[in-house]
Structure formats: structure tokens, C-alpha cells
């Protein structure tokens, strides 16, 4: 089974435009998605897509605090663990 990071990277590749990053390039885990130029509409859709991919209900106020892929992975792994 793919790791959380691999599944998250696939979601990012398919759904987020990160300035200066080509699809498939490694993702910096400490990169703030907002600082990387991701729009608010893409972020909100991404929130829903993460919930669907990992079969989790992440409240909006919790997702808003998860600024980086690393934050998201830690949250998803903790919730699954």
C-alpha cells in the first residue's frame, strides 16, 4: 500500500499548482501551500479531496491549521494510527 506521503503527493500533483514546481518533482514537506501560491479555491477543494482520499472528516478549522504537506501527513498518520 502507498504511504501517506505518496498518496498526498499524487493528490497535490493532480490538483494543486505550486509555483515553480513541475508535476512529479519532490515536495518539500515544510512548504506552506499558501506561500507556494496555491489559491484559496484550490486549497478548499484540496481539503475535500484529502478527506475523500483518506476517508476522514477533517473539520475546516483543523484543516486551516495544517499549512504544509508535513503538517497534513502528521495529522493523517496520527488519525489513522
Amino acid at each position: 500500500m502507498s504511504s501517506t506521503e505518496e498518496r498526498l503527493r499524487a493528490l497535490i500533483d493532480a490538483n494543486l499548482e505550486i509555483e515553480g514546481r513541475a508535476s512529479g518533482q519532490p515536495i518539500s514537506l515544510d512548504l506552506s501551500l499558501a506561500d507556494a501560491g496555491v489559491s484559496s479555491t484550490d486549497l478548499v477543494a484540496f481539503w475535500q479531496l484529502v478527506c475523500e482520499e483518506f476517508s476522514m472528516d477533517i473539520p475546516a478549522e483543523v484543516f486551516a491549521e495544517l499549512a504544509t504537506p508535513g503538517d497534513l501527513i502528521a495529522h493523517l498518520d496520527a488519525d489513522a494510527g
Binding site: E19, G20, L31, S32, A36, G37, V44, Q48, A64, E65
Partner: protein, 245 residues
């Protein structure tokens, strides 16, 4: 409606007055690449803001931040009669900034949004304000967004719209909901599918009065200020009575 006069605002190198109502002034900030404007804007920033700007790894987001923050500094210095070095900002838990002059918190309300080549700054001397702007381009996951951020009634209206009207209607609703959640100071931490935009505004009325279901005693004047180029909305506190949805 609040009848206070909006603050007098001046044009700058990259911003100009855009709208005024209910004691609120709205400025448009031109975020197109311009090396001279960006150099002039950089000079307005304090050391912490320059460090923040350098955290943006690529040009677009950094340019948006630098041009909007510098315009905000210039406008607030005029409005609060202070020097740039006296002005500082601190953010609330959910990221909404307040202005401080000489270490004292100012009650002057303001809010900033940017989308693509367009920034908007709303100034409300006597109240609380939120603003949102989005370029009229299709988000990657429009159907996911429709399902996520709209109420069932709003969703039905958008899904019944044909062609470009579907995107236009969605972006109008999105910016109105964002302006309201930013005015309230909760931003993206709020699930905005839990409230509905006043029905008349769904059908094209440019202004309305809104109350959050969980805070019925506080009313907000809501304005659709979008153009053909961008969707945009402003929400500010008002004494008016809430519209029936």
C-alpha cells in the same frame, strides 16, 4: 445602513480608489509584474515583512504580498496620520491582522485580498470589514467546490445555470462567503456551506444585509463589487436589519 463617510483615499503608483459605500473605501491594487513598482513597494516594508516576503519561493505570491502590503501601509499612514515606521501589524488566531501605531492598537478596520493580477483593500474607519477577490477563471475542481462550500439551495441554483453562467454565479457566491468569513475574522477555518447568501444577491442584486445563523444580533452589509475581470465582495458591519434569505 451605516451612513458614515468613507475615508478619503489617494491613488498611488499601483493602487487607486475603486468603490465607496457604507463608510467603507475600497482600493484596487494592480498586481501585474512591474519592476519599478515592486522596487518602490519593497521600501515600504519593515524587516519582518521583508523576511516574510522572502519566504515566498517564487515571484507571483511574493509580488502580490509586497504590492498589497506596501499599498496598505501607505493608505493607513494617511488615514491614521502616522509615519510608516510607527505602523505595525499583528494577526489574530485565524490570521486577520490589526494595525498598531506606536504600540497602541488602532480600531481602524481594514482587510486585504488578492487573486491573480488584482488586489483589493477595504478600509472601514468605524467598523469591521472583509473583502475577497478572485479572477474569473475556472478553478480546477469546480464541481468539488460547488459541493463543498455551497448550501443545498445555492448548489441547486449553480448546477441549474448553463455555460459560463455557472462559473460566474459560483465565483460571486464564493467571494461573498469569503468576504463574510474574513469580516468575522475566521477566514478559511469556517465551513461556509452552513450559511446562505441573501437570496436577492443570488439573483443579481448587488447589495444585501446578512446575519450569521449563530450570531443573529450582529448584522453585515454585503456588497457584490465584481467586474467582468474579477469576482469580488465586501462585507462590513451595519445597523440595518437582516434580510430574509
Amino acid at each position: 445602513m451605516n451612513v458614515a463617510c468613507p475615508p478619503a483615499v489617494q491613488s498611488g503608483g499601483w493602487w487607486q480608489p475603486f468603490a465607496a459605500f457604507d463608510g467603507v473605501a475600497v482600493l484596487h491594487v494592480d498586481l501585474a509584474p512591474d519592476a519599478l513598482n515592486e522596487q518602490r513597494a519593497w521600501a515600504w516594508l519593515d524587516p519582518a515583512e521583508r523576511q516574510r516576503a522572502d519566504q515566498f519561493r517564487h515571484g507571483g505570491a511574493k509580488r502580490q504580498y509586497v504590492l498589497c502590503r506596501s499599498a496598505l501601509r501607505s493608505l493607513l499612514c494617511d488615514a491614521l496620520s502616522c509615519r510608516n515606521e510607527q505602523l505595525a501589524f499583528r494577526a489574530s488566531k485565524h490570521g486577520k491582522p490589526s494595525a498598531f501605531v506606536g504600540g497602541s492598537k488602532s480600531a481602524f478596520g481594514f482587510n486585504v485580498s488578492h487573486g491573480g493580477r488584482h488586489g483589493l483593500i477595504a478600509l472601514a474607519p468605524d467598523g469591521t470589514v472583509g473583502v475577497d477577490v478572485e479572477e474569473r477563471s475556472a478553478p480546477r475542481n469546480l464541481d468539488v467546490l460547488v459541493d463543498t462550500v455551497l448550501s443545498p439551495g445555492e448548489r441547486a441554483e449553480v448546477m441549474a445555470a448553463a455555460g459560463d453562467e455557472k462559473l460566474r454565479l459560483f465565483l460571486n457566491l464564493w467571494t461573498m462567503k469569503e468576504a463574510l468569513s474574513k469580516a468575522r475574522g475566521v477566514g478559511m477555518s469556517m465551513d461556509v456551506s452552513g450559511f446562505e447568501i441573501p437570496h436577492g444577491m443570488l439573483r443579481g442584486t448587488r447589495g444585501g444585509v446578512f446575519c450569521f445563523p449563530d450570531v443573529p444580533d450582529l448584522t453585515w452589509a454585503l456588497h457584490n463589487v465584481g467586474t467582468d475581470d474579477f469576482a469580488a465582495a465586501v462585507a462590513c458591519t451595519t445597523q440595518a436589519v437582516c434580510d430574509a434569505s
